[in-house]
Structures are given as C-alpha cells and as structure tokens.
Symmetry: C2
Subunit: 345 residues, 2 copies
C-alpha cells in the first residue's frame, strides 16, 4: 500500500518518454491529452529535455485551422542499454538504443566459471567506458533469480545467492536488472508482438535438462513459490509416465526436432492441461524444435481433450531473438524510469 508521491517529476518524465517512443512523435497538446498532465507542465519538461538533447524538434505540423503546432520526437540514441547473455559456452552482449536498434554486438568467453565474475566485471567496465551513453545493464542467466540475486542455478553453485544486481549497481552507478532466460524470452515475446490486455502466454522449450516452460499471466512473469513454476517435465500424463518420460519414450539419444506421434500426444496433453488450468491466449514453441506442419497436428490432438474454442493460439517463435527482446525491454524500462540517483552528469 506504499505510494511514493515524491516521484511525481519522474512519473511525468517517464510518461513523456514512453509516449514519444510509442507514438513516434507528438505535439505538446497530444502529450498533455494522452498523459492527463497540463499543457504548461508538459511545456516546461519538453523545453528542458530539448536543451539536454533528449528530444528533437521535427518541424511544424500542417495547420488544422490555426497556429501550427511544433512536433517533437525522442532521440533514441540519448541513452543506450547493455544486454548480456550468460551461457554455458559463451557470453554474448548487445548494445541497443531506446528504439530497440542494436548498435553493437559481440561475444566473449563464458563467465560461468570459477573466476568468471572478474572477467564479466572487466568486460562490462570496458564496454561502459567505450559507450558513455549506456544507462542500463540487463543480464540474462540460466537460473532462478529473485530480486536481482541468483537463487538457484544448477551446475554453477559458486553463484548461489550472489546479488548480481546490487554488486553492479554499486560498482557502476547504473540501474541493473537480472532475469532468468526463459522469463526474459516470454517477456520479449510479449513486448515484441505487442500483446495487449495482458493476455497470458506460455513459452515451451526443450532445455538440456529436460523440457521447461515460461509463463506470463495477467502481465506478470510467474516464478512460483519455490521457483519451480514451469518445470513441466513433472506433469503426470499417462498411467505410468510424466511429460518428460513421454517425450523421451523410446529414444535413447536426444533429438532436437519433435516429430513422433507419441510426442505429439504428450505435447497436446500438456497444452490441454495448461489450458484447463490457466487458459492462456498463446502457446509458443521454439522454431528450431517444432516445425510448422507439426503445429496443426498438435492443435488437432489437443482438441480431443479440450473444447477447441478454448484452446490457445499455437505460435512458433525465435527463442534467441525473444530473449534479446526481453532483456532489451527490461533495460529500456530501467532507463525510462531511472531514478535520479543513477543519472550521470
């Protein structure tokens, strides 16, 4: 129930930023109407932002019968974000601007090692020095995260309980967000596809440690009481097999592509279970795991279990791309709302 009336100024600022980025461009009247903030206030903020180079004037509108209005756009390069993807075999990074354009991309060796933190720190430092406009840091990790702290990352126990967010915020005076890879991907899909009204999503993938899923319900990522949400391997599906066993049944080695009929039935049962429980709007598969023709088979098989009108849209998407989008949108949110303490002169 805690509210912070102090931050009215920041609220207005982030409202203006978001609106300009959303709309592409706007006049003072348009911003005032959209945000419900008076014209003089908008005017005051815009003139300061123009002085700072945060917004640009893009000329005058055609007259609508009276004085022509000035039109403004957001300068997408005013602030940049740095996204870092920690993976087993390598570490990728991307520097992006407020319009979501990637300005620079690269790979360094994996930091998920014993002395990895030092390498990660020095790499970030170098990137920050070379790009003074960077104002946010988003880090994706293959593990559970709670308030920026690694909660559980199987295989990398040395990171257990490490407060990545706090560490880097202190070190670099820059807002930091840390998120699980799957949650970032479902978030990225949500933003990039411009899902409206907080429609619920499920993102299914086959990880090295068996299948898992990311959930977004009512606009929030679902983590679960013990961060076990999405461990759909364990869903009991047949008399004597759970989802994971049903998927693997009969195959000794792991195939990437899903194709056999018993696998189709297992997946359609999972779709049915999830539909009967949370009734999501869209169910997303990874494009390197599921082929287009398979989608129809899964849809047909699912409707044996659930009235078809309640089944979700089955979609195929690019997991890596969605992961990047997710870290971008988390970083963007930090930049647009960044509290004063982090603003560098």
């Amino acid at each position: 129930m805690k509210t912070a009336p102090k931050s009215l100024k920041l609220l207005i600022l982030s409202g203006i930023r978001r609106s300009l980025l959303d709309l592409g461009s706007a006049t003072k009247v348009e911003l005032s109407d959209k945000l419900g903030i008076s014209f003089p206030t908008i005017s005051k903020f815009l003139s300061q932002m123009e002085k700072d180079g945060e917004i640009l004037s893009s000329g005058l509108d055609e007259s609508s019968g009276g004085r022509r209005a000035k039109r403004y756009t957001y300068n997408p390069d005013y602030m940049l974000g740095l996204a870092i993807f920690l993976e087993k075999t390598e570490t990728n990074y991307a520097i992006f601007n407020c319009a979501g354009e990637v300005k620079e991309q690269g790979t360094i060796q994996s930091v998920l090692t014993d002395s990895g933190m030092h390498l990660l720190t020095s790499s970030i430092e170098a990137l920050l020095m070379a790009n003074q406009a960077i104002r946010s840091l988003s880090i994706g990790v293959p593990g559970s995260v709670k308030n920026g702290r690694i909660f559980y990352m199987p295989g990398y126990e040395q990171f257990q309980d490490f407060d990545i967010k706090g560490y880097f915020e202190n070190l670099f005076s820059i807002p930091v967000v840390v998120e699980n890879d799957m949650n970032a991907a479902v978030l990225g899909y949500h933003h990039s596809k411009e899902i409206k009204n907080h429609q619920s999503l499920v993102y299914l993938y086959s990880g090295q440690n068996g299948p898992g899923a990311g959930f977004m319900i009512n606009g929030d990522v679902v983590r679960g009481n013990t961060f076990f949400a999405g461990e759909v391997s364990f869903v009991p599906q047949y008399d004597d097999r759970n989802f994971r066993e049903a998927l693997e049944n009969g195959t000794s080695h792991k195939e990437v592509l899903i194709s056999r009929d018993n696998q189709v039935d297992a997946i359609s049962r999972l779709v049915a279970s999830i539909t009967a429980i949370i009734n999501p709007h869209t169910f997303i598969f990874c494009k390197d795991e599921v082929e287009g023709t398979l989608i129809e088979k899964i849809a047909a098989a699912s409707s044996k279990y659930i009235p078809p009108e309640h089944l979700p849209v089955l979609a195929i998407s690019d997991w890596k791309q969605d992961y990047l989008y997710g870290l971008q949108s988390l970083g963007l949110a930090l930049m647009l709302d960044s509290p004063e303490k982090f603003i560098r002169k």
Copy 2:
C-alpha cells in the same frame, strides 16, 4: 501507462483509511511515517474526517518523553457494505461494516429465474433504504464475469451479457462489484489468512457440474483467455481418463466426501500438475469435501510425482465463509477507494 494525478486527494484518503483499519489505531506521526505524507497534510485530513465522524479520537498515548500524542481509530460503522450471493435455490445477503463484522444477514428466494432481476432490484432497494450507511454492493454469481458483466452463466442464459455493475451503479449511485463465486472465495481466503507477498493460491471444489478450481497468481485472480481457467475437469491424467473421469470412475451416484484410493491418486496428480506448472504456495480444499486425514494421503501421493520441497501447503477451509470474506473485501476496497461521484451527502 495511464496515471491519474488528479486523485491525489483520494489516494491520501484511502491510505489513511486502510492504515487505520490495518493498524487498529494510529497517531498522526505514525500515519505520516507509514504513508510518506507530510504531517500537516495528514493533520488536515484527520481533522476533516473527525468532523465527519469517520474517525474517532481514542485518547492520548503515554508520553514517550515529550508531549503526549493523540491516538485515532477508524469508525467501522461509518460505512457499511452489502454482499449478495446469488445461488440456484436461494439468495443470501449480508450487511457488514469496515471491520468485517456482519451486522445483518438474511435469505430471500432465488433470483436466478426469468423475472428474478425485478425481485433482486426491489430487495436491494429495500435494504439500502433501511440502511443509509451502505456504500458498496458486492454481488457473487455462479458464472463468468467480465468487468461487472455476466459473460457466461451455464443454465441461466437470460443473464448472458447483462451488465449488472453498470445497471445498479446507475440505479443506486453506489459502487458495485460483481464476481464469480470461486474467484471471490480464493480472494477471501487470501485476505482472511493474510497471505503475504502475493503468494499464489489454488482453491479446489466439486461443483454440481464437476470439479473446478479458482486460482490466484501474483495477487491477481486468473480468469483465462476465454474464461476457461480452472476447468480442471479436463486435465488428462491417465491413458484414457481425465481428472473428472478419474474422480467419478466406478461411482454411479455422486458422493460428497472424497475417500477412495483412485480418487486420492487423481487429486494428487492434479496437485502435481498444478505444482509443475505454476508452483503455488497453498492448495485449498473444501472442508465438507475432504477430511483432515485425507490431506496426508494426498500429500504422500503427490510426492511420488514431484520433489516434496516444491509441493504446496495443503489446507482445508470453509468455502461459504471464504466466499463471504471475498465479497466483503471486494466491497471494502470499493468503499475505501470510492470515487467522489458516489459519495452521498
């Protein structure tokens, strides 16, 4: 992204109300600290509220080394709420105050009939006339509700698409909330047990139309894309049976109490599925459907499917009572935040 800076006054008012009810009583300094609102502002609001009879002075605190502070309490009878439960065979109502105490309770004949709306309207009117302090109306219905409008209520098609909220708000100039019975119950459990941190809940019940469940995830009730969320009957559980079929298997007539071993396995599989998907904190059964000893059997059976440390707390609760609590807390929220337009002089 829409914010309403106009309502700062209402924000302060509802903050003060909630704090006084939460804490039982408070001084001006305590309120100012808790709400982050300056002392003079708190002081201004409190003196007006005391004039109105909305708060009461409960004397002076012991001195903590200086001038003794005045202590205030909320007058719980300043506003009352009316909760109405529409059921197949009868209609129950309860009038409650801001402390959640039921002041009056009663039953009228069912209004889920062809001419039921007139009866409901005249009954509410009579109750409002007799109790001028009523400032909110909460209506529970056995069907899907979307923004106060009946979306789907099997068996009562005459109510399809009827905007109950809009109708009564117009008619009586009083804020109205309409909610599905199961959602209200899970909400009521959430509030009455003072579940913290938005821990997720599942409420399982055996309705006349087969079993169903209510979900609360991250503090929000889950409705689903086509309002199908919670229709756990359809969860595929065995080679050739879904949850409903597994529960009924072998019984021709319906028993209220759950007891047989195959039923225990079906329920534990449902607990396992839901845990692997959303990993809730608590799983609630109805006390007239499940006996205490059965809980342990279910817990033991579930841990065959899921590592026990991730299993939810299994709880037994009184559905009717939780339903009432749910409608009460919905009504209370309306009263505490009620917009000016509804305030009667």
